[in-house]
Each structure stands twice: as structure tokens, then as C-alpha cells.
Subunit: 249 residues, 2 copies
């Protein structure tokens, strides 16, 4: 083999069309970006995608598999289409577990977890900074903003959660709208909110692709001396209990 010149190798390869076709038919050849599957890449490549498209996919996919799957797929399906492997290998259903604040435990909003999975893969360490900004924006913004082309239900309420927790975010909204968790209007709110999170995340990923993303929000643990949200009095009233301070995870 090593005695063959490059030219000879190319000639032999060309002659062996039947062999190449057989290998290809067996699914052993990736045409685009085959090198992406040779070994682990980190992060995976990113190309700018349309935030509106991500939002529309997230809205529709919320109704298929919940909020976490909605945002993961809203961002990663366009990247599959734009880039191919390794995105095509990843089963996006695997990330549905984040729904309802992780299997309905009401903890981190699953839409934010979907954003974290997508930014972790598509932007690595910089993606972590993007996620931090998205969480801060989520807490401080009246949501939902997105209006779908074909809404499944009409809703009248928007609210600022002041928390990245599903329980707090959806609980405040349910109370304001006066509906139960199982109400189609509650689902519509979470579908639209998923679209909002997908859109905001893609906007930041696109800024980063242009070299224009800037970190604004600092580290929660450096600010407070403990891993925490900003809404201390929601749980602690006015008397925030003291914990030993300082440091970073």
C-alpha cells in the first residue's frame, strides 16, 4: 500500500466504482463532514440560523414532547440541516426529560435546559456564558412574547417570573391567568415561552458567530456567595438566612 503513489491510488479508487458503491450502500460513507464523526469535536460547528425558524420549530415541538425538547430541537434541527454530522447522530428526544422543570419536579424551566444543551454543544465554554445571559433575560422579561401563526389557544396574560424555576414561573402565570396546569391555555403559554427562549438563544449564538456577543451578567455565586437565584425573598421573606459566604463553584 505504501508503495502506491497518490496518483495510482486515485486511479485504483476510480476503477473500483463497484466497491465504492457497495461501501456507500452499506452506509459506511458520510458524504458531508465525514471527519466530524472520526472523533469527538468540542464544540460542534455553528452556522448562523434564523431565530424565527428556531422559534417556530420550538413552538410546534412543544406540543410533541414538552419544553426542553422544544428548545433543544428548535436550535439543533436547523443546525442538522445546515451542517449535517455530528448533529444528525444525536437523538433529540433524549432531552425531553427537562419538561416541567425536570420530569415535572418544577425545578429549572425545561426551556432553559434545552437552551443549555444546545449552547453547550454548539458553542462550548462561550455557550455557558450565553446560557447565563439567557437565564437572566428570562427572569427579567414579561413572557411569552412569541405569537404563533396558528395558535392552539388564546391567552391574555404575560408575566415576569423573577426566577428560572418552572414552578415559580408557571405558577405565577397560572394564578394571573386563572387556569389549571392541564388547561390548553397553560400549554399554549409554555409553547410560546419555549419559542421565546429558542429565539433569544439563537440571537445570542448568532452574535457570537459575528464576534459581537458580550457578557453582561456576572456569576451568581460570586455575587451572593452561594449558588442562587435573585429572588431571595420569594422563599425567605425579608429575613434571608445567613450561610457561610464567599467563593465560586
Amino acid at each position: 500500500m505504501k508503495n502506491l503513489s497518490r496518483r495510482e491510488m486515485l486511479i485504483r479508487s476510480a476503477q473500483c466504482a463497484a466497491c465504492a458503491a457497495a461501501v456507500s450502500a452499506a452506509g459506511l460513507l458520510w458524504a458531508p463532514r465525514a471527519e466530524a464523526l472520526k472523533k469527538e469535536e468540542y464544540p460542534w460547528p455553528y452556522r448562523k440560523i434564523d431565530p424565527q425558524k428556531a422559534a417556530a420549530i420550538a413552538y410546534e415541538n412543544y406540543y410533541k414532547n414538552g419544553c426542553s425538547y422544544a428548545v433543544t430541537s428548535g436550535i439543533l434541527i436547523p443546525l442538522r440541516e445546515a451542517i449535517g454530522p455530528p448533529y444528525t447522530v444525536l437523538p433529540l428526544e433524549a432531552f425531553a426529560f427537562g419538561r416541567g422543570g425536570v420530569m415535572d419536579w418544577g425545578t429549572t424551566c425545561g426551556a432553559l435546559l434545552g437552551a443549555g444543551i444546545a449552547t453547550g454543544l454548539a458553542a462550548g465554554k462561550k455557550g455557558e456564558e450565553i446560557l447565563n445571559e439567557v437565564i437572566n433575560w428570562y427572569c427579567d422579561t414579561e413572557l411569552p412574547i412569541f405569537v404563533p401563526q396558528n395558535p392552539r389557544a388564546s391567552i391574555k396574560t404575560v408575566n415576569k417570573s423573577d426566577s428560572p424555576l418552572c414552578h415559580v414561573s408557571v405558577g405565577k402565570w397560572m394564578k394571573k391567568e386563572g387556569v389549571a396546569l392541564s388547561d390548553p391555555r397553560r400549554k399554549e403559554r409554555c409553547a410560546r415561552l419555549s419559542a421565546d427562549v429558542a429565539m433569544k438563544t439563537v440571537q445570542m449564538l448568532n452574535l457570537r458567530a459575528d464576534g459581537a456577543f458580550e457578557t453582561k451578567h456576572g456569576s451568581q455565586s460570586m455575587t451572593y456567595g452561594i449558588t442562587t437565584q435573585n429572588n431571595c425573598t420569594d422563599c425567605h421573606g425579608t429575613a434571608v438566612p445567613s450561610v457561610p459566604q464567599g467563593g465560586k463553584t
Copy 2:
């Protein structure tokens, strides 16, 4: 091509050793489980792994990249070794974002998110049931249990978090141990706890592989009518605010 018999194809392929070697040298052939990279599989295949090994990897990897990476890698590195692709394609650093309850926001314990990512990939819908059990066990168990072979620090406290939230879980422990977030003992506690979560998750994945996994814990939202933890009075005191009840996400 379609006029070639299988025998003729095999003969031609064998004749074209140079071509095959060239393709292989270019990294276009996967020897083991090449079919796993043809398209998306869901879930990815699972083979029983050693819970102690998963725990030891999680403990060590906590010190490299935090709790979420620790548990994801504690489970998925042994699966990479046992199975190869598609596990080898996934950059595990992408899931470090869950640390400190997602980028230090103190929400879902990152160790639990690591478990969710691993179970979602390796067990699909059944993995969601496993995660629900792991979360319930985490809330109800005095942690950490794991004792490393070469501990980085000595700790004296264990505690039952009664919550899957990082802020609550680590905050209660810090208060009891009397240490700050940046203290090496706090890091040691979270490293050991990551090992515990990896071990428990693998034990359940192994039970499932044996057809012996049983769901015990029900749906939080079906029980409470809202996505939530069980520790209502931690935030709400004795007067739990009413929200419109009923249903499931």
C-alpha cells in the same frame, strides 16, 4: 451495480484492497458499530456497567468540570469504552453547564441533570422514569455516602436535602458543616454526592437492562396539580398558596 451478484461484489471488494485501505486510512470507516452512525438511534444502546467505576469517574471528574459533567461522564465514559460509537462522538464537556444548579443559579442539582442526560441517551423514555426515581431518592437520602479512595478533603456532615435544588441541598449542608461555598470541604461534598448520583443511576440502568427496574414514584404534577417539589413549606411556610389545580404537563 444492481446487476452484480453478491458473490461478484464480494470478489470485487476483496480485489480492491488498496481502495479499501485508502478509504479506511481517510477515517471514513468505523470498524465497530458503524451502523450506529448512519442515522439517529434512540435510545442509544446500553450494556451493564460497574456502578463503582461510574462513581469513581464522577468523583474525579467533579474536580475537572463540576457536578453535571461529573455524572454525565461517570456514566457515559464506561459506555464509550463498552460500546464505542455513537457515544464516542459526544463531547461530554458540553454538559458542564449544569454545574451549581445550572451556571451557579442554584436550580436543579447539576448531578441530577447529568443523570438526566445520560439516562435520556441510554434508556430513552424508560430513562425518564429512572430519572424520576433518582430525584426522589436524592431528596430523601442522607448524602454523601460515597467515600473516595483518595479524598481531597475530610468532611463530617451528611444531610437530607428534601429538595432537588442545588441552592437548598448545598445551602443546608454548608450551614450544618459551617463552611463557605469556596471551601475545599464543600467541593468534596459535591464531588462525593456526584459519585452517589452516578452510582444510583447506573444501578437503576442495570436493573432495567435485566428487566427488573420498577417504577415506584409517581408524577409530581399529577400528585400536586402543578410542577413542584415536595417541600412546599420550605418556601411557603405553613400556608401553601392556592393555584388552579389539576392535570399533567
